[in-house]
Symmetry: C2
Subunit: 239 residues, 2 copies
DNA sequence: AAGCGAACTTTGTGATCACATTTGATCGAT
DNA sequence: ATCGATCAAATGTGATCACAAAGTTCGCTT
């Protein structure tokens, strides 16, 4: 029944108002984002359905939706798996993140009012608290919330789904980045960003945002570390 | 049975090797892209299934996939429709297109060799031929192929799915833009782009690419024209 | 005649079933 | 002992069925 590791997925209580498909989708999305499903691991509809305690139908739809968001990859053998990572692909994802998020931030900047700016500063403080507590998972979650809070200021939102698609693809590796962040968390780029927002300085915002993203994945600059993790990713395929 | 206009969709022969879901997905995607389905028009699973001559199941999956790509919108009433357009949203989409495609082109530039450059020039000539023939649909298709041919030179492709998502959202309106292009097709930016590629000049490529995109949607600069089309889009909702 | 509620219809969701293709294993031949 | 073929289990795909919620229409009451 279980090919390799039996896939442990954190199950949450399902709200009665959400459909089963939505719940499965959110659960699997979170599992991918948190690295609970190793890249290269083959996923089966029936297998996931059994784990989640639902029929294969909602799993099928959730998988197709996640594949459409590039969170999963449908192989020619119509097997579904978390895409493997390569150093080049990782680099492309980071650069795409910077390009997309810089654009989104610039476009959102005029819409950020004092209320939202205060919320941003609060989120930054929350991150500091989580950092003191060493709760890396919370740090990642709050960090996402911080960025999302900026972009959603733009009422004509187009880019956020694209950005989240990139986050999803970087997901399992961002987790590693956050755990390594403990040591290297030197400059608080979020503070620079909020300062730039207060001055409505688009260029300064772009600069600090790019620095924040690059710091978040700083370990990509140390090739051996990235390489070891990619090997770990590739290793889950070889029996 | 038919609420308003009965939805005419161009049906193509289904290859025996492709699954029904894939065929339905491609058919609906093309229908959205060509503006065969008016924005605001309510779509039903069973209705589409009957039109396409398939069971509701593959339609459900195709709709969910298209919704994940932002080609369709799932309303709270769990009704599915082509999203309506607003002037601001249109502007955001164009700017996002420029940002994303500039980035993708720059990243692909080093990988474009002589062979691919020749293919690009061939596509540009084909566009001229289609332009002489007045075949606007062919122009749009070839124009997409031209852009795609640039970005796919990058072997570590990340951005193309995001770009295609934007194209899908602009889809019905690009069709209008192409039909209006007949009159205003003054400068051949594609020739500027191939020249920039030959010189491996990233900045010149970005400039001409942005100009090409802006020209393609030049009518957005004439507010009354855009407004009239948006009204047409909104009109399909009012009974 | 207009407002409102009840019955019917439509629609999305999810489960089960059937079938074709693929994967994996076991047995046999060289 | 190793390689290959055949058979069985597993898997994705798609159709049909069942059910609940939302929408629509008809008829009743005022």
């Amino acid at each position: 029944m279980d090919k390799r590791s039996p896939i442990k997925i954190r199950l949450t209580e399902r709200d009665a108002s959400t459909t089963i498909t939505q719940w499965v989708y959110q659960t699997l999305r979170q599992a991918v984002m948190n690295g609970q499903i190793l890249p290269g691991r083959a996923l089966t509809i029936r297998g996931l359905a059994e784990i989640l305690g639902v029929s294969p139908m909602p799993v099928r739809e959730a998988l197709r939706q996640l594949a459409a968001e590039n969170a999963l990859e449908i192989q020619g053998n119509r097997r579904v798996m978390v895409p493997r990572m390569t150093a080049m692909k990782f680099n492309e994802l980071c650069e795409a993140r910077i390009a997309l998020e810089s654009h989104a931030a610039t476009r959102a900047l005029p819409y950020i009012d004092a209320t939202r700016l205060a919320q941003l500063r609060q989120l930054d403080q929350d991150i500091d608290v989580a950092f003191e507590a060493g709760d890396t998972e919370e740090i990642g979650s709050l960090n996402q919330a911080f960025h999302r809070k900026i972009y959603t200021a733009n009422p004509h939102q187009i880019t956020l789904p694209l950005i989240e698609s990139i986050w999803l693809q970087l997901g399992p590796f961002m987790r590693l980045a956050n755990s390594l962040l403990d040591e290297n968390y030197l400059v608080d780029h979020h503070r620079e960003m909020t300062a730039a927002i207060e001055k409505q300085d688009a260029l300064a915002l772009q600069m600090s945002l790019a620095a924040d993203i690059r710091d978040g994945v700083a370990f990509a600059g140390t090739p051996e570390l990235l390489h070891s993790f990619i090997e770990q990713s590739a290793a889950s395929s070889t029996p």
